[in-house]
Symmetry: D2
């Protein structure tokens, strides 16, 4: 079941055309991943084992503009596609229900020396 991270678009996230800059959506998706780690107590596991999720590939398809004060939700599903841990993010406008953007972020779990680490089953459970 998808994890949901809620946010309100901030004024300084707009670019000179008055809508959210394309790179900011990657920030939103990253924060959704941080929240998942926190919610599932994976954050402590990461710190203890000195693991990090390195982004191997990041892709977002933009469907609609987002503007300041828009109430958004990032819905996230995780899947293991060895060697990747893949996050599927769908960003929706919470007022209209419309999809604003869809993101696919492929990550690798590595230790402090950048050695790949297996993705434990309990990540996805």
């Amino acid at each position: 079941m998808a994890h949901e991270y809620r946010l309100t678009v901030r004024g300084y996230e707009l670019d000179s055309f008055g809508h959210v800059n394309n790179a900011v959506y990657f920030n939103y998706c990253e924060q959704a991943r941080w929240e998942i780690l926190r919610t599932r107590d994976l954050f402590d596991y990461f710190l203890k084992n000195r693991l990090i999720l390195v982004v191997a590939e990041a892709r977002i398809r933009y469907a609609r503009e987002a503007k300041v004060f828009d109430e958004l939700a990032v819905h996230t599903d995780m899947a293991r596609e060895a060697p990747y841990l893949v996050f599927d993010h769908t960003i929706k406008n919470r007022d209209t229900g419309e999809v604003v953007a869809r993101g696919t972020i492929k990550t690798l779990l590595v230790d402090h020396d950048r050695i790949p680490h297996d993705i434990p089953d309990f990540f996805l459970g």
Copy 2:
């Protein structure tokens, strides 16, 4: 022939793991596009016709970490794949010559009312 935009990685662009945050590479690619518009005098054409390039899809595959003070170059090619104007970015480390990341950014040329606008031939010439 590819356009080249040179930059040095800044300290505040690093994330808590000490390497350039994944979203920052999209900033680098965006600036490469701004520089192309400037170099080809397209910037004035955009302002005069109230046109903007809207990002429809953005994808980066990361090959190597970048760290503070790394000297990078963003090499960019443009291609028309109707209705898109597609930018292919290759980010290289200028000291080692190694590829740091490859990006593909699909954009749409639209006017102020978000009406799609044909991509003039002189964009690519």
Copy 3:
């Protein structure tokens, strides 16, 4: 009475030392100002009269580090000190009650041609 804007520190807002980067606090304060404009229906007034608040001086004194997932509140008071509209921001950790930072942002209300505009009484009421 102070306006309160609540936020949770995001992971990508950390710098390479693992705490919130000094410039990000200015983002937090800016968003607190956007929220005030929205709450007081000043946002529409700004758009209609093509007014903007230009920052003339920005200062923050940092008291404590903030880390990812810290629950913060930006408490803001406004005062007119002609020709400035001054915002006093106090950023607190909502769990500990401790002050994280104090900011003073002096702004000028200007129109689209950068001509100073009087600060209406209803801004402060």
Copy 4:
């Protein structure tokens, strides 16, 4: 004698009003400090002794707007005002010579446990 750090304003650094966002100037000043550390070989000293410069207070007075492609220079002087190491930054437009902003950043030199560390004479020499 002042250290000089040169930069060109990037398009994504603009806010929705078309000029450089107020917080971005703090980024520029931070990068000027990183460059000083590098130029004076202090960067390695910091890494070896696990020292960091923590910002205790940051202030910028804005004089003129900066826009995309503006060629700026950050001129920086350092002074020891115990317990602080103070950086005075003057940001100028390199084409017009006009001052864009002046910044004063008070920093504390601390070790990894946040214990204050004396500021060596060779920092300033």
